[in-house]
Symmetry: C2
Subunit: 510 residues, 2 copies
């Protein structure tokens, strides 16, 4: 095949457009808006929703093109969304070149996976590289995640995806030996043990540089909760400083580009409200490996309305996590815990932070279940570090809570991260009363979480639900079962409407 | 659960916003743009990319919210994309209410399918209803289509999806007995038999109200090609008039809301460049059933680079199509045909239309393969209608081409649809020469199709590729193998660049 015309000669040199900052907030989506009849659209044959590349300021970025048939945008302007503006790092009016985006080779791998074929390690590397570079549209991201779920990732694929996700980001290293980490396999509202565990473990001198994620499908992630107590958006040098000084930290992983692909996937998983096994394992382990951990305590709550429904499923997940971790030289210990009801009282960032503070401060009304659960997890980490004999770690952990060492350490970590904060409280609250008297026999974790999300969590930090009863409690008719917290009347109304339609949030037997 | 505050009392009555037409072209995506700090965003707790419902003018529509931190949009304005503008049918400045979109119950079915579970008929009905109402984001659409592919739809699911797609749109009925239809399972560039088949079959007095789709992943769909010869965007009454007068038509199915869900799915499938079996069967049959067909001739081209790769796969697809069709009382006959190279010469809407005209007009240089293939398919339809004995239909069909009856009929149909047109020709053409002399031993359908798409087809009607050789031809070095047609220099350069990198578009053996 020898075209007598060389391609390079044929590309017309259209004059560049001028960038205009539209102030358009799109989450992560990079959008460029251009006149349908501008010379670039004409010369390049660009149509609405085309994928394009923009070159400006020596940088290049992918974006989705939207077109405008109206005069609020000039013929010589390219309007940029906020995400695209920061990707390019341009100034108002700077020259920008816009072209058709080249076809992505990695999309043929997505197609193969959609057709039920398995992918090679190289294919995952290519996919993750393109994802991190922002070259995928929502359609491609959703297709990749769904295709990796409907036909689940096998062991080799999970290892390959995990490695690709690690390779795509920064990687931390720490001097010395054991670096401890922990992870809870979500699904259980209020299960906010991490800040407590880090405080205890580092109080004993172990290293625990904890990076956490924001909520995927839950009303709060650890990073969301911790953010109400201290800054969590620390960059790499800041994290190093905190960990050098205090031995540990509790920060948002996304701010340091550890496994940056994960943050993109999470955004789409949140819309789909799914979090399947292969993706979950790759997500959890890629963060741990990139964070430089050597030992990980895995908390797997099991209950009829938790993410993991049966002990058998919990053990299977523990086994998968352990097997994939081993491929990276990472030691794991999985602890199956009771996931039959929310842990602590609060569900939502600020409400959970209040529970954490109560436990650390040894308050008389601190939730006992949260304290006990945190001690078990911290205990396992202390045993990893050789500070306690097998079976004796939890008791040692409890000592650090009782004598105030953990609370002192936690305050020091918060100070090092930028200063301890007071969690905000909500503008609107409304108790939900029991329809009849009796005994609380079932609490639907999923519906309680849904209620907290409808009330505005995690976007509204103060929003959520505070449980006022636990399984087995005797209640009178009309007695509050929980209190809904919301920032806006609209969100409160939303949550209450949902509660009114879901009498099985809490089941009461006469 | 009895909240003492009734939800209705709690919904704040924020003053409505005023609509502003932004002229934003987004394909089908409904977008509303509002100030981040407008009172509605504050009161409702709305964040960027939230799904919202807009109420105006007595109508309601779903949309995705984008937010703006800039003064080009007023605090009291809601900027609408063109698609949303026409959905609401409002006037500039009209009052509009914007709220959080209620959670879609059908999304739990999507989640179940992502987790590998099968869906009930009711679930498909709910999903398709929401899809047609425009309530799904691209993420949800991509997830549904992918989940139905990575774990393929089974028979019951395919029947259920087909029925749901039929139920979601208009349904045509025709007086009398047999209503003939045909369908080619794409993947073969230039396989544009439909206009010829309709002309022949209706010339013999049979009823053939043909609705076709636009391209999914190919450089041209029948509707794209036919549009260069006559209007195809006919509404239901217009189609009825054409069919009453001429016995048949060749129109775009999307314009008449036959299986409207299909058009939404196709848009996303086009981005993903996939078209899997269950979806394909539901897509094909839902259109046929909604169009009131009783008998369908199915053309399944088989070749190493066609959509269907082997005769075994072709027979399997024929069997699946036949079995699902039977569930709706539809009779099918599947014809496996040679898919080893493009049919005819042209690939792209206008170039294919020229081939169709040449065959109908009995031109000396008319592509013989296209003529023969059309006669076989028309023959099967004539046999369905009892006009020819089994095995004699193709010869009868050829008579109608030879004596000009089919061409006369075709012109009458075009006139009835709004007038015969002359296909446009491209501004830019460029031959691709053979790198060496020898015999043409392989033509890569997929790459030729990709080349035609890069040249601008099907959006640019005149764009595409005209083949100048066929399998088995002897060529000299430098002799043109095909001619690339494009509307813009940029697209031409794109296509030529691709051709230069893909020497295996056409393989030549010395």
């Amino acid at each position: 095949m020898s075209p007598s015309l060389e391609p390079a000669d044929a590309i017309p040199q259209a004059p560049p457009l001028k960038v205009r900052r539209l102030g358009l907030v799109t989450q992560h989506e990079a959008i460029v808006v251009m006149r349908t009849d501008c010379h670039v659209c004409r010369a390049e044959g660009l149509t609405a929703r085309a994928q394009v590349t923009l070159s400006a300021n020596g940088r290049e970025a992918y974006a989705t093109l939207y077109q405008v048939d109206a005069d609020w945008l000039g013929h010589d302007e390219a309007g940029l969304s906020e995400s695209l503006w920061s990707l390019l790092g341009v100034e108002e009016g700077a020259a920008v070149t816009v072209r058709h985006a080249p076809a992505l080779e990695s999309l043929s791998s997505i197609r193969r996976r959609i057709y039920g074929q398995r992918l090679s390690a190289e294919a995952f590397q290519e996919i993750v590289t393109d994802v991190v570079a922002g070259r995928y549209t929502d359609i491609h991201l959703a297709a990749f995640l769904t295709a990796s779920s409907a036909l689940p990732l096998d062991h080799d694929e999970t290892v390959a995806l995990t490695r690709a996700m690690v390779d795509a980001g920064e990687r931390l290293t720490w001097p010395g030996g054991i670096v401890v980490d922990k992870h809870s396999v979500g699904g259980l509202p209020g299960n906010r043990t991490t800040p407590i565990v880090v405080a205890i473990v580092t109080a004993f001198g172990l290293t625990m540089p904890k990076t956490s994620s924001r909520a995927i499908t839950s009303p709060a992630g650890t990073a969301d909760t911790m953010e109400t107590l201290a800054p969590v958006d620390l960059d790499l040098p800041a994290i190093r400083r905190v960990v050098e000084r205090e031995g540990g930290c509790i920060v948002w992983g996304g701010a340091v580009k550890l496994s940056p692909a994960d943050d993109v996937f999470i955004r789409v998983e949140r819309v789909l409200d799914v979090d399947t096994e292969g993706q979950l394992v790759a997500s959890v382990l890629s963060k741990k490996i990139a964070a430089g951990s050597t030992h990980v305590v895995l908390d797997i709550p099991v209950g009829p309305t938790a993410k993991v429904r049966s002990e058998a499923a919990g053990l299977r997940l523990a086994e998968t996590l352990g097997r994939v971790a081993k491929a990276f030289g990472l030691t794991t210990q999985s602890l199956i815990s009771d996931g039959s009801q929310p842990v602590g009282r609060g569900i939502g960032p600020a409400l959970e932070a209040l529970d954490v503070l109560a436990v650390l401060q040894g308050a008389a009304d601190a939730p006992r279940d949260l304290r006990a659960h945190a001690c078990v997890l911290a205990g396992a980490a202390l045993e990893f570090g050789g500070l306690a004999k097998p079976g004796e770690g939890a008791a040692l952990a409890a000592q650090a809570l009782d004598d105030g060492r953990a609370w002192t350490k936690f305050q020091a970590i918060c100070e090092a991260q930028g200063g301890l904060r007071t969690p905000p409280s909500a503008a609107q609250t409304q108790p939900l009363g029991a329809q009849r008297g009796g005994r609380v026999v079932h609490i639907n974790n999923r519906k309680v979480a849904r209620l907290a999300k409808l009330a505005g969590a995690p976007e509204a930090k103060a929003a959520g639900v505070a449980m006022t009863v636990r399984l087995g409690d005797e209640v009178a008719a009309g007695q509050p079962l929980m209190i809904v917290h919301a920032q806006s009347p609209g969100e409160l109304a939303y949550a209450l409407d949902y509660a009114a339609r879901n009498a099985d949030l809490v089941e009461i037997e006469p």
